[in-house]
């Protein structure tokens, strides 16, 4: 293929920060765009939609030039982008049906045909029984389904979902996440899913674009990014603990001279990664077989899916996922002193040279 379906180099300059992000994608790609708040994720997708003008670069999609500063700029409505927002932004004065039919009708489809199309999409999203309801009469999850149906019914060439699940209750978000991955798999164009939740990226997308401070921090498959995060920041975003140090055999010596024991021999500069679920927390000094232990202080405790995510200051910053029951039992509140232990076998080592067997 000579030219990618989507070829974007978005440069948007704002006082104090610049967004400079490149992305190419082919039909069928579902790209998760992740990054911390203020990283430029929303600016990036809004520039693709044409809502934010480019200062430099280009956006080409489906063989058309959408934006090339100084040369050409296609109006938002002629681009064929579908957008779904965090606050679903359904037109409050129209029924669910009227909302979904809005796209086809704006393109000149007769009312009857547009409504038939809309009904079909509502059915696919499992909310056809709510066709006559006003947005105010819908729950958050229902409204977001209607919003997704509305975006898809307009047959977009590029689908942009800007944190579509982050305003929903955890359970509702979980259910919709599964469905969304199914609909996105069926979708013929390119879909971008902006999220700050690593779970979205891992379950829905086939590619992950990590944006940090207006730049691409990493790009790859979800597995690549999760297992080999390029920066500490990415590691924290995808919910992994990453300790950097110099490995010798199965011992990694960290900057503060403490050591981590792994089960993978390596030499040189490495990242030792382990999942938050692999971390065990205890109040007293642990006596088990785990080789790696840290004494630390809890800095924050927050629900994370079905678990409780605990951030620790133990020299390095650590993330631990524990069950709500043990969080209560251990009295995990910010400031509490705890021990964290991780088995050597739970730690993956990236980078460095494979060790020479003695």
């Amino acid at each position: 293929m000579s030219r990618p379906y989507l070829d974007a180099h978005v440069v948007v300059r704002r006082p104090g920060h610049t967004v400079d992000v490149r992305l190419t994608a082919e039909p069928g790609d579902v790209v998760a765009v992740i990054g911390p708040n203020g990283a430029g994720k929303s600016t990036f997708v809004r520039a693709l939609a044409g809502v934010v003008p480019l200062d430099d670069g280009h956006v080409l999609c489906a063989g058309e030039t959408w934006d090339r500063p100084g040369e050409r700029r296609t109006e938002v409505r002629r681009r064929g982008v579908g957008m779904v927002f965090q606050s679903e932004l359904l037109f409050p004065h129209l029924s669910a049906l009227g909302n979904v039919a809005f796209g086809p009708r704006s393109r000149g489809v007769p009312r009857r045909t547009a409504e038939a199309t809309a009904r079909d999409w509502l059915a696919r999203l499992g909310v056809d029984d709510l066709a006559g309801r006003r947005p105010a009469q819908l729950s958050g999850g229902q409204a977001q389904r209607v919003a997704i149906a509305r975006a898809l019914a307009a047959e977009p060439r590029l689908l942009l979902l800007d944190e579509p699940l982050s305003a929903l209750d955890v359970g509702v978000a979980m259910a919709l996440r599964l469905e969304l991955s199914r609909h996105l798999a069926d979708y013929a164009g390119v879909a971008l899913l902006v999220t700050h939740d690593a779970l979205d990226a891992m379950t829905v997308a086939n590619r992950v674009l990590v944006i940090d401070d207006g730049r691409v921090a990493q790009e790859g498959t979800p597995a690549e990014v999760a297992q080999r995060p390029a920066t500490d920041h990415v590691a924290r975003l995808v919910g992994l603990n990453v300790l950097r140090g110099r490995s010798s055999g199965t011992t990694v010596r960290l900057a503060d001279d403490s050591t981590v024991v792994t089960s993978t021999p390596a030499e040189g500069e490495v990242s030792a990664c382990f999942s938050p679920a692999a971390v065990t927390l205890t109040v007293g000094e642990p006596h088990g077989s785990a080789r790696n232990r840290w004494k630390g202080t809890v800095t924050s405790v927050a629900p994370h899916g079905a678990a409780v995510r605990v951030h620790l200051d133990a020299g390095a910053g650590l993330i631990a996922d524990v069950t709500p029951a043990s969080a209560t039992q251990l009295a995990l509140v910010p400031g509490a002193a705890v021990w964290a232990t991780v088995k050597a076998t739970e730690i993956s080592v990236y980078g460095g040279e494979p060790a020479h067997n003695p």
Partner: protein, 273 residues
């Protein structure tokens, strides 16, 4: 007030007394108007030709003015709310000035523009022999001039209050700006639009200074209700009272209507079908 009194202490008399004076000052004249009104022959008075003519003319001209105001006011409000253009503040100032301008000055200004020797009126008269002042259309123009600002500000506020992101959503769905205006912005601004209409109509109905200056006071063609009140006060006070009471009742009705609207919005949000 009394229920909370004990906790914070009694409301001081030096505040309560002037407050009561204020209430009396505003309320007494209105009560006096009601008291002096010849209720016994109210209906027969109402059907007197002079009064009927004034009533009919006021209705026709104020409604015509509202139609004019709607036709130009909605686009103007939309442009002020949605289009970034240089000199927007200047344009908004132009819109607001008639709001604070003494109506009689407005009338003089209208004469300067549309009078037979006026800026626009002179060439118009020379070319077609048409003269606007002292005609029924002049009444409509005077009404529209003073009520347009109320309408534009009300609608612009309503348009600004709706989330601009709806325009973005509509655009991504392929809607042109006209479609977006017609199917999204305007319906969402509905309550503000209605409030603007009522305000503009009430303002037009009560307009006196600009009308009498620009359109004069001819029975049947330019003698609206306020003009008639002014005349009848010298001839037949009873007729003036009847007309005044009608205008007062209209004002109270408008207030009640708008309160309902505003109350509704405060409770349920600005959204209505």
């Amino acid at each position: 007030m009394t229920a909370r009194g004990p906790a914070l202490g009694r409301a001081p008399a030096r505040l309560l007394v002037p407050a009561c004076v204020g209430v009396a000052f505003l309320g007494l004249p209105l009560l006096a108007l009601l008291a002096r009104t010849p209720w016994s022959d109210f209906l027969t008075r109402l059907t007197e030709p002079a009064i009927l003519d004034a009533l009919r003319l006021s209705m026709v001209t104020s409604l015509a003015a509202v139609a004019v105001v709607t036709a130009v006011g909605i686009p103007l409000a939309w442009a002020l709310a949605r289009v970034e253009f240089p000199g927007r503040t200047v344009v908004r100032a132009f819109v607001i000035v008639p709001l604070v301008l003494p109506p009689v000055v407005g009338g003089v200004a209208l004469l300067s523009a549309f009078g037979r020797r006026g800026l626009l009126g002179a060439p118009l008269y020379d070319a077609f022999g048409v003269s606007l002042p002292f005609t029924t259309p002049a009444v409509v123009v005077a009404h529209a001039f003073v009520s347009l600002p109320f309408f534009v500000l009300s609608v612009e506020g309503a348009l600004r209050a709706t989330d601009r992101e709806y325009d973005v959503v509509a655009a991504t769905l392929g809607a042109s700006r006209w479609t977006t205006f017609r199917r999204v912005s305007l319906p969402l601004a509905g309550p503000g639009l209605l409030a603007g209409l009522v305000l503009a109509w009430a303002r037009a109905l009560g307009e006196f200074g600009a009308t009498i200056t620009f359109a004069g006071n001819y029975p049947g063609t330019t003698r609206t209700m306020p003009n008639a009140i002014y005349v009848e006060l010298q001839n037949d006070q009873q007729a003036a009272l009847v007309l005044s009471v009608i205008l007062m009742l209209v004002s109270v009705a408008v207030l009640a209507l708008l309160r309902e609207r505003w109350f509704d919005q405060a409770v349920h949000g600005p959204v209505r079908a």
